[in-house]
């Protein structure tokens, strides 16, 4: 018998601290699988965010740096501009990327910074205990929207992929989900492509991964994945929002 599935080498032996059923572990694994398959671990430098994934620097076996909240794209820019031959990725949550770090995100995209961003959207601030995120759904109950997100009071959730796709700059913007086997496999492909784009010098590639937070949503892990399907994906549809190279080829 041959091994058909095992833990990727680009993950260290550190035990993941995430809550039971938290898809961060799945997304970490997909990133690590992409790094393994592309054989780039020795060249890769990762940027960890502030949020639940703050300790990602312990989990990825490549060189790692921990950025301030929202600043990962700026930190990645600094790294990439010094070491253009290295592969640089950030791993960020919704509060980090779409709230406090929106400026860094938009401008890195506008510059077509040749980096890869893995953006985990689970519609809540996890690490701080379940506050409303920039991507929390209308009506969603959180610790800081206890009566449900009132869009007249605090505005509408932001569709990051759609917004970034309006920019000239970025090469590739895709939204995937990790709520079932089929979607996980699709997510893997998008993440790998986002790294391949960087290797090929194509530029800014962001994969928004619609994820879940069973703990702060107050659901079992399986119920949370079902809520992704029933509530998250209608507002945040899966799809490729921008693919410059594919668009060019289609135009030929």
């Amino acid at each position: 018998m041959a091994i058909v599935f095992e833990k990727p080498k680009a993950l260290t032996d550190a035990v993941l601290h995430y809550c039971p059923g938290c898809p961060h572990g799945i997304i970490h694994r997909l990133v690590a699988e992409a790094i393994d398959e592309l054989g780039i671990e020795g060249q890769t430098i990762g940027v960890a965010p502030v949020g639940c994934a703050v300790m990602a620097y312990d989990y990825f076996a490549c060189d790692m740096i921990e950025a301030a909240h929202g600043r990962a794209p700026a930190v990645a820019t600094g790294i990439k501009r010094c070491r253009p031959d290295n592969i640089v990725f950030t791993y960020q949550g919704d509060g980090d990327l779409a709230s406090i770090g929106m400026a860094e995100t938009v401008h890195a995209a506008a510059r077509n910074e040749n980096i890869t961003i893995i953006f985990v959207n689970n519609a809540i601030y996890g690490m701080t205990g379940g506050q409303m995120a920039p991507t929390s759904l209308p009506g969603q109950v959180t610790q800081t929207s206890p009566y449900g997100r009132d869009v007249n009071h605090c505005g509408w959730p932001i569709r990051v992929s759609e917004m970034l796709a309006t920019l000239e700059g970025p090469e590739y913007i895709a939204r995937v989900a990790v709520n079932n086997v089929k979607n996980v496999k699709q997510a893997k492909k998008a993440i790998k492509k986002a790294f391949e784009n960087q290797i090929q010098g194509k530029g800014f590639s962001l994969v928004e991964v619609v994820s879940a937070c069973p703990t702060n949503w107050g659901m079992t892990p399986q119920k949370a994945l079902e809520w992704v399907e029933s509530d998250m994906l209608p507002y945040y549809p899966i799809g490729v929002y921008k693919d410059r190279t594919a668009a060019k080829e289609a135009a030929k």
Binding site: Q43, A61, M64, I79
Partner: protein
């Protein structure tokens, strides 16, 4: 004899940085440091370097953080309100123990303040600015020559002690033109085994990080850092003494204020007053020993500052409050005249 060139203070910083091996500059426009960015924008692309105008001061300091983590010599420059924004990154850089060079061409504050020269960021530079226990090496140039020499020195010290070096200048010296030489400071290089370069499969992964959730681990990190700071305090204070041999009154001033003060000291000497000047060149580490020694000889001190009196507190501490320290100051972008300083010296002579 070393070749001398006529340069503006801000441009001297930029050129010196390039000569120190800096090939990455990340900045955001603000008056009155504009010439640094403009110089870098022109020069960097021609020498294989990177000039990048970031979307904000916050982004630019975080670009510096990332670049510094790769072991590159990297810098940013700004002015007072911009440094406030950069303080987040300064704290992370300190907490991660990596080297960087940051220039603050100060302007009057608080708030948006003004755009005229000031020294009112002394506290921010020497006492922190950002959150947490940390220090920066703070270098205060008083001439265009020092804008260049201290920039090179700042890169050396940053690499040597894994700290941020801040050039705390002001708009006057930034705009001033003087003949300078770039050969007065030597460029040193240091090994950086901690740098993020990719493991190449040859070593365990390097991590640049300031998060330590276990309080004992964080305490240990802070203690280790402060052991290093202690060495800096021991080895690196720099200052200039002028006419201090027989001085009974000691004027203390840095940067542009020291040039005004020097004129006043000469004028007072002509009146027969035994006065001298101590000019701190490093504001952190503060030249405590020089000040303490002066307290044994002098009957009083005068702090000349372009602020409401910030360095004066360090003078009082360094002299252990053995002697009175008076403040001779202007603020908000105004500069004291030599006559104002002379009047303060006369008053001190009379024991007022």
């Amino acid at each position: 004899m070393a070749q001398r060139v006529l340069m503006k203070g801000n441009e001297a910083i930029a050129e010196a940085a390039i000569r120190a091996g800096c090939r990455h500059y990340f900045g955001y426009p603000i008056t009155p440091q504009t010439e640094i960015a403009a110089y870098m924008a022109k020069k960097m692309p021609k020498i294989g370097g990177v000039f990048l105008q970031a979307e904000s001061e916050i982004a630019s300091i975080n670009m510096v953080y990332g670049a510094a983590a790769t072991g590159c010599r990297v810098m940013t420059s700004s002015s007072s309100p911009g440094i406030s924004l950069k303080s987040e990154g300064l704290s992370y850089i300190a907490g991660s123990d990596i080297p960087a060079l940051v220039v603050n061409v100060q302007r009057g504050g608080p708030g948006l303040g003004g755009i005229q020269p000031s020294q009112s960021d002394y506290f921010q530079a020497t006492k922190g600015g950002g959150h947490g226990d940390y220090r920066m090496i703070v270098l205060a140039p008083a001439s265009v020559q020092e804008m260049a020499s201290l920039t090179i020195k700042g890169f050396n010290l940053a690499d040597k002690y894994l700290m941020t070096s801040m050039i705390l200048a002001d708009g006057t010296i930034g705009q001033m033109m003087e003949p300078i030489s770039f050969e007065e400071a030597e460029v040193e290089t240091y090994e950086k085994p901690w740098a993020l370069t990719g493991t190449e499969g040859k070593r365990k992964h390097n991590i640049v990080n300031s998060l330590y959730l276990q309080p004992d681990a964080l305490e240990k990190k802070n203690f280790e850092r402060y052991e290093r700071y202690k060495i800096v305090e021991e080895n690196e204070p720099m200052w200039e003494e002028y006419m201090m041999e027989d001085a009974e009154i000691c004027v203390v001033a840095f940067g542009i204020a020291s040039r005004v003060a020097k004129n006043a000291v000469v004028a007072a000497r002509n009146e027969g007053i035994k006065v001298g000047l101590i000019r701190p060149i490093t504001l952190w580490p503060f030249p405590k020993k020089a000040l303490r020694a002066a307290a044994d000889k002098c009957k009083s001190f005068i702090s000349v500052e372009l602020s409401m009196g910030q360095m004066i507190e360090d003078i009082q501490l360094a002299t252990e409050c053995l002697r009175p320290v008076t403040l001779c100051n202007r603020a908000g972008g105004m500069i004291p005249s030599p006559d104002q300083v002379l009047e303060s010296i006369r008053k001190a002579q009379k024991g007022e």
